[in-house]
Each structure stands twice: as structure tokens, then as C-alpha cells.
Symmetry: C2
Subunit: 278 residues, 2 copies
């Protein structure tokens, strides 16, 4: 099997090859855990991966039409000396986990950091986003995208949450998975303790909070702790935080969904910091 760089010769044509099977298998969590690899699918995710984290990219697969359409992705990957493989449409369809493959995917290595190292690298006015017991892939990915857009410095995902390297999460991050430092797999108690030791204020975002978001103190380093989409944060987690903050509900809605609440909280932090930095 030839590996080539941006050549237009279809190198991979056998949809039943071991390589194709092994790529396809990365949609399974057990295979990701065993191999230490995951899939980034679609032009948006792959573009961000090759541009921002080429060190995380092991292989790029592209169909001939997609290579024509996304010359920027191929050029960036080639410039980063990545392996770009051209795949026939049949091979690509057999590799892709999605129903509508868009002709570009990358096999990537996670770049998850050790919690202590990640915290040590934070600026003094850091904004951190902690996810615990978030189970829905779309929600987890959307919150990571919001954290990126709001300029958060770090995302920490507890061990009780969805696997952030699952294809649906990667897709929902819209490339933001490759923009932000990420820590995964740590128990939430340990995350809260480590934040406390560093003097990073822990703000639980929960509908039960007594502090309204506009009244919350968002100056200096702090972390938003976000819980499950349906049942929020357990009492024990809230008790381990420095404050419990709720987004005000002005109308008759019972609540905001997790991603919306996270976005509003993270943007409130961003705006406070923007003013302080002026």
C-alpha cells in the first residue's frame, strides 16, 4: 500500500483491507482506548486538526473530489509533512462512521494533558471549563465549541462524562477540539481539589444556585463546573465549589439547556476579562 502526499492517484481501492477496517473500528470506544487513536471526520474538523495540531494527526484520508474541493486542507497537511492518502469513494465510505461522508477524515492521536501540567500553564486570569457527567455527545461537543469561542484557556472533562473522542463529540466541536488544551478522565473530586489548590475559584453552574450570574464575581482565575443535561450537578459536587451560580430565567421557561447555559456563563467570563484587560 503506497503512502503518498497529495498525489491524485487513487492509492486505496480495497474497501475490505485491514487499514480500512482499522479506521472504521475507531468509531468504537474500546478500539479508541486500545489504540490511542480517534477519528476527525469532515472538512471542518480535519482543516482545524492539520492547521492547529498537526502533531495530533497520524493520517489524512481524502477522496479525489474532496481533494479538489478542499485544496487548502491538502496543502496544509502536505506542508506539515503529514501522510495524505487518496481513497476511492468505496474505501472512504467503508472508513467513515457518518451516514454522509464528506470525503475527508483524519486518524488522530489525543493530546490530552495531565491536569497538574495544564493548570500550571494557565494565565493568572484563566477561565476554565469543567464538564462532569455530561452524557450527550452533541452537548459535550457544543460546550467545547462555546468554550473555544469564549476564549476559555482549558477544558477539563471528568471520567464520568462521555468520551470526547467519540465521533459525534468531535463533530459537534466543529474543530474546537483542536484549539484548546484538554484534560480528560479525572474524577471530579480530584479536579475540584486541584483547582482549589491553585486558587482557581470553582463556580458550579446550576439552576439551584443562589447567586445570579450578573451578580457572580468573575474577576481573576475561575472555573465553570457544568453538570449533566438532565439532572444538573450532584449536591456533593456543588458543595465542593466556591459558589453555585444560576443563569437568570426572565420568562416562563423552566431552564436553559446545558449548552446554552454554558455559553452564557462562559461569555460572561469573557466579557469580564475583556474589560479587566483593557
Amino acid at each position: 500500500m503506497s503512502e503518498h502526499r497529495a498525489s491524485r492517484q487513487p492509492a486505496l481501492t480495497n474497501p475490505r483491507s485491514d487499514r480500512v477496517r482499522s479506521v472504521r473500528a475507531l468509531s468504537q470506544r474500546s478500539v479508541r482506548a486500545r489504540t490511542g487513536l480517534f477519528l476527525a471526520e469532515g472538512p471542518q474538523a480535519v482543516r482545524e486538526a492539520v492547521a492547529h495540531r498537526p502533531d495530533q494527526v497520524r493520517d489524512v484520508y481524502v477522496t479525489a473530489p474532496a481533494a479538489e474541493r478542499h485544496t487548502d486542507i491538502v496543502a496544509t497537511a502536505v506542508a506539515a509533512r503529514l501522510h495524505v492518502h487518496e481513497a476511492s469513494p468505496e474505501v472512504f465510505a467503508a472508513m467513515a462512521g457518518t451516514g454522509t461522508p464528506q470525503g475527508v477524515l483524519a486518524v488522530c492521536r489525543p493530546a490530552a494533558l495531565v491536569l497538574e501540567d495544564a493548570l500550571a500553564a494557565l494565565p493568572p486570569d484563566a477561565v476554565v471549563c469543567v464538564l462532569t457527567q455530561v452524557r450527550d455527545p452533541g452537548n459535550a461537543g457544543t460546550v467545547i465549541r462555546a468554550a473555544d469561542a469564549a476564549g476559555a484557556d482549558l477544558v477539563v472533562v471528568s471520567d464520568s462524562s462521555v468520551d470526547v473522542y467519540a465521533p459525534k463529540v468531535v463533530r459537534a466541536t466543529a474543530g474546537s477540539l483542536f484549539h484548546l488544551p484538554l484534560v480528560v478522565g479525572v474524577p471530579v473530586e480530584q479536579i475540584l481539589a486541584a483547582l482549589g489548590e491553585r486558587g482557581i475559584r470553582r463556580l458550579a453552574a446550576d439552576g439551584s444556585g443562589r447567586t445570579l450570574l450578573p451578580d457572580a464575581d468573575l474577576r481573576g482565575a475561575h472555573a465553570w463546573v457544568l453538570g449533566n443535561e438532565a439532572w444538573g450537578l450532584p449536591e456533593q459536587t456543588r458543595a465542593g465549589c466556591d459558589d453555585v451560580v444560576r443563569v437568570p430565567i426572565h420568562g416562563l421557561a423552566e431552564s436553559l439547556n446545558l449548552a446554552m447555559a454554558a455559553t452564557v456563563c462562559l461569555y460572561a467570563s469573557a466579557e469580564t476579562r475583556r474589560r479587566a484587560r483593557r
Copy 2:
């Protein structure tokens, strides 16, 4: 066919009856247009409908187990003198458009207002949410939920948008469809003109905007004009607005999705108004 009020006798047992067929058919847009009816499915939507807009509810259908589980919904419906029909599980499954019917649904009448009347009823510091060319049902519903949570006074959906009475939109509003005045089916040019005549400032929310959200003037009556999830607002629509505002992107993310951007904008309006009203 007997109609009864909160009786526990299973009255509807024939999944092939005309009534069952006519309820099921409401998942089709053409049938909704012809009959002037729509479906609210699941306990959350039906609870809000019977509590806040019993005038919109024509019939409530409930399975025996769901009636046991949601006694509050049945009690509220009965108190509002609504028709509550008990349906066998087979009948209910045949009626419900969702894959996982939760045993409660209501056949409702839209309460869409005439634009001029809705605008005339607004407070002097009104916040209005306008959706145009929004095509994804989940996005449309989530924005309506965000508008409700942020205390917006009116939602206006242009004729070029998804049908807000489609089951997926109703579900995504999480009951908020029954909380807010709603205008549908008006061309966006007409919406913008009517807002302008009333002195309601029109703020296009668009990534191309020159005004950053924190710098936008959100005092007094204004309307957020939100466009398509993929391509934003057309030039012509932006030109018809008083300002084009963008949510700042602090990190490397290309953008926020429509629902997140809408939530951040609507909450900025809510916070400005909260301070002004103090």
C-alpha cells in the same frame, strides 16, 4: 366514541380509527395547514400548553400509565375544562409522531398573532426575536426557548423559515412555544418595515457585523434579527437593519452556532433591561 374527563376507562382502543389517523396526520405540514391544528407531544410540552394556553388546546390524549405519572397535567387539563381522552398504548403509539411516545400528547390550535397587533401590545423597552430563513427545526425551537428564558416579549418567524408547528420544533421549544406571543408567516422585509415604523431598533446578529455585542446599544425597544444557521443573513436583510452586531469570538473557533449566538445576544438584552429597570 366517548369523550371523557380524566376518567380511567380506556375509551380509545382502535388504532385504525379515523380519529387516530387524523391525529397522526398532523405530523405533515400540508395537513397542519389544511386543518389549522398541530401536535404537542410529551409531558413537558403538554404541561405548558394546558397550564398557560388552554385556549390553544383542543384535545389531550393520555395513556393510563402516563395519567398516573403525570397527575398534574390531567388535573390542570380537567380544571381548564379540556377534553382528556384516555388512549390504549396501541392507539397512542399510532397517534404519536415520535419514536418513543411518552404517553401524553395534545392537539392544539396555533395562536399566531397579526404582526401589527403584536407590535402594538409591546412594552416600551421590548425585546423582540425575529427568525428568518432558519431551516433546522432543532435550532428554531432552541432559539424560541432561549427567547423565553431571556424574557423576550415577542417572537416573529418569517415566511421563509421552518414551520414552527412541526413536531420537532415544538419539542425543541421545551414548552416555550406556549409562553411567548408568536407571529409567523410574514416576509422579512415586511417585518423589518413594521419594526421600523414602531421605532423598534433592528439589530441583525451576524458574524460580519462591525459592532461587537458588548458595544451594541441595547437600551430601549429593539429586535434581534437572526438568520440561517449556515449562511447567516442575506445582504439585503442586513441593509434593512439599524445595526449589524457580532458576538465576539475570543478563541480560535470560526463561529458560534445559531442557537448559542442567539442566546448570548438575547441575554445581553435581558441584562441591559434588568439594569435599566432597577
